[in-house]
Amino acid sequence: MTRADVLVIGGGGAGCSAALHLAQRGVRVVLLERGLVGGQATGVNYGGVRQQGRHPAGLPLARKSREIWSRITELTGSDIEFDPCGHLKLARSAEDEAELLRWNALAAEHGLRPRMIGRNAIREQHPYFSDVVIAGSLMEEDGSANPRLLAPALARAARAAGADIREHHAVTTLDHDGSAFEVMANGQRFTAPWLLNCAGFWGGAIAARFGEPVPIEKLHPNMLVTEPLPYFLRESLGVVGGDLYLRQIPRGNIIFGGGRGESDAEIRVTRPRPDAAFGAMQRAIAVIPRLRDAMVIRSWTGTDGEMPDHFPVLGASRTTPGLLHAFGFCGEGFQTGPGVGAVLSELVMDGATEVPLDAFDIGRFTAASGAV
């Protein structure tokens, strides 16, 4: 039996960051990861460190996380290739342009300073865009990082700070006796008064285990990368509507995505889908015609969880004391992962956080049938 103060299930960005922040405050924390850390949503996503376009209810969390991204190298002791290169969101119609203006006004209330780039300026600054692009909005402090490096770097730092990170520890049973959790993983028993549910799509099953089922769906982002091309694109790109996201790394490869991959019922295998790939390829060429002759060398996907209202489940359980949920990040968890871990550590240690979590309360799905 391994005793701890906090058990974390799931070694993605949120779980590893929570382990790090807790260990830094002297907490005995054990993280249980079924495979290798960062093997699912945190490791396979686009790598966008983006606040732009988020719902206002999500901005305080994104702001807090962005502050951590500024010192991610010092925090982890590793280079995660974080580059505040700017996120440029493109309008392909007058309605798109109006949407950019609407969000920019909302963002200003949260202290963000996105900047509109009009028709002439965008043509001048980005001559490689086609006429499809009529305007854009630039969030200068947004950017990108290497998704493959984040969770391993956080885990390494957490381990150095004293956390016990257990890879290849799939959880087989979960119990709560009223005061403590008892978890079986990889044939070993773990117990702690706190349990952090950071299990991504599989977090839904953990919530259900404690009487809080939520309508979570699996989400498989369809990702592609080209061979290296001459470097021309500094900003990470998005579009209004979200059906294309695209960036170029200094090595020259274009990483882009759009649409969904697929999986079998038990999610033993996930696969990118050619039809989704073709759609993303066509949209990429429509925006940047010079990509026509580029070659795609690899495609991939992985598994994230998606909630019907596009908000994650983040905060205290309504059924079980000591249980905190942090899952279902709807494809937007890479940027917020470091911040989510910090918030979880505050909830455990301080009993509160400054970040408003009301919109993410699990009660929005479970209260109606039970408490009301």
């Binding site: 290798l36 490791g43 493959r148 490096l149 391993p152 390494r156 080209t226 061979e227 090595r251 079998d264 295998v269 696969r271 990118p272 050619p274 073709f278 390829m281 066509q282 990429a284 060429i285 990509l291 026509r292 002759d293 580029a294 070659m295 795609v296 060398i297 690899r298 495609s299 991939w300």
Partner: protein
């Protein structure tokens, strides 16, 4: 019943032959402009060199295979210049790219993957210099286009292909500067006995060796290659002999090759599990003796299903087709199946001895210097890979994530084998324990622009 055969080498030809014989007319997809495979690689139609000149002792086989290929093409849905770049095993669909531009989908009830093999390499300092290629590449240039990689090439590696390529170059008028074999004579002699399972092939191998000696080609055993030298192109090979003496052999080209590895990406994408074959030191897709994979509707034959050579490819292709027919409750030649099973058993014994007699020098690969480039697409050195191991990469895919090894154009087809050797030694584990690079579509690059 919709059957697709991927690949028109010896395995694909014999598979299609059996299908057609049973009245099943498949869609037959070949990546190259024509079929024939690698050992019996066909030159373009307008070339006039005879089979004897092109294939030497393989001329009879080449004639038979090419005749079968040509007669079968007309009877099936023949699709040359077509790359199968993805497979969706649940939907039973193949994604194809024709002439590098036109996308298409081909559905199937059953598919036979005869996807062949490629050279296995050992990265050396200078192996990316112009003038350095693989043994298979050097051979293909000669057979397909009638051009050599150089007038005085050095050939490095081990196995029958080393001698065969050297002899083909000598016969074509080149003067190989040296043939450097990394295997010692004792190892070859020790396992040579096992090759009595196929006496004609054993004799041919010995004949190759003798012919090279007769022609005065300098051959060395138990060699350690140290570097390929040159500034803008290959000018010499630096190597060490069995007595630990160093040599620099001037040359104008280099061909490298240590046996073959299966080109099994489609089997991987189809979800076929892989096992490490200790004898051939390769990851091999799982199949039964007849070529059935554990994935419904997917059959495997030829070197893509585990290196077996051209005899096994022909036998295995026919056998997989007969298994497919039997599984579909179509009439199939039971007597022939039984005969093929017996011959395949014998060939496997021969092959096991051959692989042991000419092993991949994983020892040399694992000890390469930190500055040597392992992954030529992404220019990742052995040192960077070892740094990934130090940063807690317990297996190859994690090392890829940390270091970018295998992330380039070839997707690890070339660097996968040596990278595994380097990583295993850095982690102080056996090579199979670091696993293999997971397949990801596309099998080979596809253009963004869609046509058709």
């Amino acid at each position: 019943m919709k059957v697709v055969v991927v690949g028109a080498g010896p395995a694909g030809i014999r598979a299609v032959e059996q299908l057609v014989r049973a009245g099943v007319f498949p869609t037959w997809i070949e990546e190259g402009p024509d079929g024939g495979g690698r050992i019996t690689q066909r030159p373009p139609a307008e070339f006039s060199r005879s089979h004897a000149a092109l294939y030497g002792a393989d001329a009879g086989r080449a004639k038979r295979l090419h005749a079968a290929l040509d007669s079968l093409k007309a009877r099936v849905d023949w699709r040359p210049d077509t790359l199968v770049w993805n497979i969706r095993p649940d939907a039973r669909v193949l994604h194809t790219l024709t002439n590098g531009a036109a996308q298409d989908e081909v559905s199937y009830d059953a598919v036979i993957l005869c996807t062949g093999a490629m050279d296995r390499v050992l990265p050396l300092p200078g192996w990316t210099l112009p003038g350095a290629t693989t043994l298979g590449g050097a051979q293909t240039a000669l057979k397909s286009q009638g051009v050599g990689i150089g007038a005085n090439p050095v050939l490095i590696g081990t196995g029958p292909l080393l001698w065969l390529t050297a002899l083909q170059y000598a016969k074509a008028g080149a003067k190989p500067a040296a043939v450097l074999d990394t295997t010692d004579l004792l190892t070859k002699a020790r396992f040579g006995g096992g090759m009595l399972w196929n006496i004609p092939t054993l004799l041919r191998g010995m004949g190759l060796y003798a012919s090279l000696k007769l022609r005065g080609v300098k051959m060395y055993e138990d060699v350690t290659p140290l570097a390929i030298e040159g500034v803008d192109k290959v000018t010499a090979v630096h190597w060490r002999d069995a007595a630990w003496k160093e040599h620099v052999t001037p040359c104008d080209a280099v061909a490298l090759g240590w046996g073959l590895k299966p080109e099994a990406q489609l089997a991987d994408l189809a979800g076929v599990p892989f096992d490490y074959d200790d004898t051939q030191q390769n990851w091999v897709p799982r199949k039964d003796a007849a070529g059935r994979s554990p994935v419904a509707g997917v059959y495997l034959a030829g070197d893509g299903a585990g290196i077996g050579g051209v005899d096994v490819a022909e036998l295995g292709g026919a056998r997989a087709a007969l298994a497919l027919l039997a599984d579909a409750k179509l009439p199939s030649d039971m007597a022939l199946s039984k005969h093929l099973d017996g011959r395949l058993r014998t060939e496997r014994r021969f092959r096991a001895a051959l692989e042991r007699a000419f092993p991949y020098p994983a020892r040399l690969a694992s000890r390469m210097e930190d500055s040597t480039s392992v992954c030529r697409c992404e220019v990742i050195t052995a040192g960077e890979l070892r740094a990934a191991a130090a940063a807690e990469a317990p297996e190859l895919n994690r090392a890829k994530a940390f270091s970018r090894v295998g992330m380039g154009r070839c997707q690890g087809r070339l660097c996968g084998t040596p990278a595994a050797a380097v990583l295993a030694r850095a982690l102080a584990v056996e090579v199979p324990e670091v696993g293999r690079l997971r397949g990801q579509p596309p099998v080979k690059p596809v253009p963004l622009q869609q046509v058709g």
